[in-house]
């Protein structure tokens, strides 16, 4: 196997966006019939690598070779013609054309003069539809298709080019477990055809059964490489995904059993178009509790929080202090005390730190605002020093602290923290963790925390939910988590 020239060979790949190094010195090779998993959390640069290979983003330095031919710097369409197919995560089919016509499109030559497709195109399109399981819906239009069929259509379009190299972005996102099995089989078919496959995903677990090797990335760099098992056992990977040793600090004084639920999410369901993002999810948070929802990227944590904040439509019911939140605007929900500090932070980058905080406090009276500001600047001393600096120029950790502080300026009854550790260095995590601990000890605040990093999520938690594939799969106290879920999580 080692003698065969790789179909795709990448080396020294580097990409900067402004001052940010998105991808640094990444290299790998994929041989015919081989599947490589490229994994990393959000913002790790894995999708950028895929775009660089495809020529969608311009490469700063490095080389991309297809069967020995250097293609770095080529325009996307030439790279595609040279044998690279890509399956995008979000499909944008032509909605006025049928499935068959959509597949035919991918079979057309890049020519201005050939106005009528050759007869074999129709036959070939039908064969491909058959292969990916679209035969039954071949004359329907994409808007009427279920989500899985739209993903199949993307597969079909990539396959139509008969590419030697297939790049697949998050192959299983939004699919049910049954569909995952079908798509795994499809991708395995690529391997049997002798194609080289690159699977890009958030975590090892979802692609482990399929891949020959895994390359793990974090903040633009390679952190581990090997078989799926080796990577899952790798110390650095575990630190990135789970954090270090799992600890729990139960609070003895808090007895929440008899209390009324402050927030009560009752079996809600959320769909993005046709993809199901949440399935019968029920979660409750009692007053004064610190609840963590843990789950890998893409499990549905952000969707759950957005449903609570009124940002995405849902079915089912969410009760807040005994009243239903249905029909309330997101802004009103925030004013009523459910304040979300989102994963994307949503800071006002061109305003100063102080202005960001002031906006959070605009609903308070002047005296309250001053008191809250003074308290927060004590809780996050770094923000005190940086008051006049533009928020956009802060480091990642400082931005996260600002986002939390800005949310706290609203004096929330319930603070929702979504992935506060995303892309942060370990030393910053420690500071953040301390701040949360102080928050929990010194104030009666109720917190709902969403985290992938279990080590960060558990120490503070009174109760833990595990969200996997759009469903809650486990609920319990943090002490039990290590015993019951610790190994199966990644």
């Amino acid at each position: 196997m080692l003698n065969i020239t790789p179909l795709l060979e990448v080396s020294g790949l580097t990409k900067r966006f402004g001052g940010l190094v998105a991808v640094k010195d990444i290299g790998f090779a994929i041989r015919p019939g081989e599947i490589l998993g490229l994994i990393g959390p959000n913002g790790s640069g894995k999708s950028t690598v895929m775009k660089l290979v495809m020529g969608i983003e311009r490469i700063d330095t490095g080389s991309v070779k297809l069967s020995g031919t250097e293609v770095a710097g080529w325009p996307t369409h030439r790279i595609a013609r040279h044998g690279v197919g890509i399956v995008f995560q979000h499909s944008r089919p032509l909605n006025r054309q049928t499935v068959l016509e959509n597949i035919k499109l991918a079979l057309l030559p890049d020519s201005l003069l050939r106005l009528v497709a050759e007869p074999h195109v129709d036959r070939r399109a039908r064969e491909i539809a058959e292969r990916v399981g679209l035969a039954a819906v071949i004359n329907r239009r994409p808007p009427t298709l279920p989500f899985a069929d739209l993903r199949r259509l993307e597969m079909a379009k990539a396959l139509a080019r008969d590419p030697q190299v297939v790049l697949v972005d998050e192959p299983f996102a939004g699919l049910t477990l049954g569909e995952v099995a079908v798509f795994s089989e499809l991708i395995d078919g690529f391997r049997r055809d002798g194609r080289a496959v690159l699977l890009v995903d958030h975590n090892v677990k979802s692609v482990a059964a399929l891949v020959d090797r895994v390359l793990a990335m974090y903040v633009g760099q390679r952190i581990a490489e090997g078989t799926a098992d080796e990577v899952m056992q790798d110390a650095t990977v575990r630190r990135v995904y789970i954090g270090g040793k799992i600890e729990a600090h139960p609070r003895k004084e808090l007895d929440v059993k008899g209390r009324e639920a402050l927030l009560d999410v009752r079996s809600i369901e959320v769909f993005y178009g046709k993809a199901q993002a949440l399935q019968q999810v029920s979660v409750h948070v009692n007053a004064g509790e610190f609840v963590s929802v843990v789950g890998l990227n893409g499990a549905g944590k952000t969707t759950l929080f957005n449903a609570i904040s009124g940002l995405v439509p849902f079915t089912g019911d969410i009760h807040w202090a005994t009243e239903s939140l249905h029909g309330r605007s997101p802004a009103r929900i925030a004013r009523e005390g459910i304040v979300q500090c989102p994963e994307t932070r949503e800071l006002f980058g061109d305003l100063s730190v102080r202005e960001n905080l002031d906006l959070g406090g605009q609903h308070l009276s002047r005296a309250e605002r001053d008191a809250q500001l003074a308290w927060l600047l004590g809780l996050f001393p770094i923000l005190n020093e940086r008051q006049r600096q533009r928020a956009g120029t802060l480091s990642g950790g400082e931005q996260q602290m600002l986002a939390i502080a800005r949310a706290l300026m609203m004096k929330p009854k319930l603070l929702i923290l979504d992935e506060p550790t995303l892309g942060l260095a370990p030393v910053i995590l420690e500071q953040l963790s301390k701040a949360l601990a102080r928050l929990r000890e010194t104030t009666p605040i109720t917190v709902l925390l969403g985290e992938q990093n279990v080590t960060f999520a558990l120490p503070h938690a009174d109760r833990v939910y595990v969200l996997e594939h759009a469903r809650i799969v486990w609920e319990g106290d943090p002490a039990r988590f290590a015993e019951e879920m610790g190994t199966g999580y990644l």
Binding site: A80, R96, Q97, E101, L105, D110, L112, R141
Partner: protein
Amino acid sequence: MSLLRRRGLWLALLLVMVGCSAPGWMGAYYLGVFTTAYYFSVFAMSWDLLFGFAGEVNFGPTFMIGVGAYAAGLMNNAGYSIPLCLIGGAAAAVVGGMALAMPALRLRGPYFGLVTLVAVLLLLDCIVIFASVTGGEIGMMVPDVLSVSAEVNYWYAFGFLLVSAVILYGLSRSSLGLILQATGQDRIGAAALGFNVTKHKLAAFCVSALFSGLAGGMLTFYGGIASVDTVVSLSITVQIVIAVVFGGRRTILGGILGSIFLILFDELLRPIGQLNTFVVSGIALAVILFFPDGALGWLLRPRDDA
């Protein structure tokens, strides 16, 4: 599906028959109105090819139309025959279209829209500045006309419309049309399927400019004059946009319905004087608010049984 197609086909045939029989029962005045509407329809269809299929928000269709009309007119004044002038005008329009396409490959959305708008304003200014050659705001008379008979003129326009409609509609349903739609909707996706987006966009601009320029030239030789008000003014652009949006974007043929509606209505509402534009714009506004897919888009909307 096939039933739907067939229904559209029957409808088109019926309309062609009505169009053919018109000179038999329609007075000269209304034949003239329809002649204008037919040239207008070609403007609208050419615009829809760019906007609906290639996804380019072009506010400067009258740049290509005007270049075609004035080039043809200038050539005629220099003594060339009408067919030569039409070819020359179309060629000039294609060159203009390419000039317009250049920014389209660099700029997006409103920026490109503005550049096309500026192109029209510059053309307007040039016409006024070189008034000695172009006739300025009054317009440029041409020595030759297609015909003095309303009926013959009608047939020229009708034939031109039919040929243009068949070609443009055929293109839109061809492989090229499919690729154009893909590039218009998702550049990156289309490139990843191996299509050279630049090449296809340029081709779309060429075709659009060719028909716009030809129609502009024909209109000049129909009226005997090329003037700012008939082929360049921004209000023509607005009417083209209205016609396409009203008739239905991405249908090509919708532009014909929209143009005929617009010009006929303008005529019927003549008694209310200046307010007719007000009413027509109001109706068009209501259509885009309540039926964003337009008349033909609504009639032929995809209906799947499943």
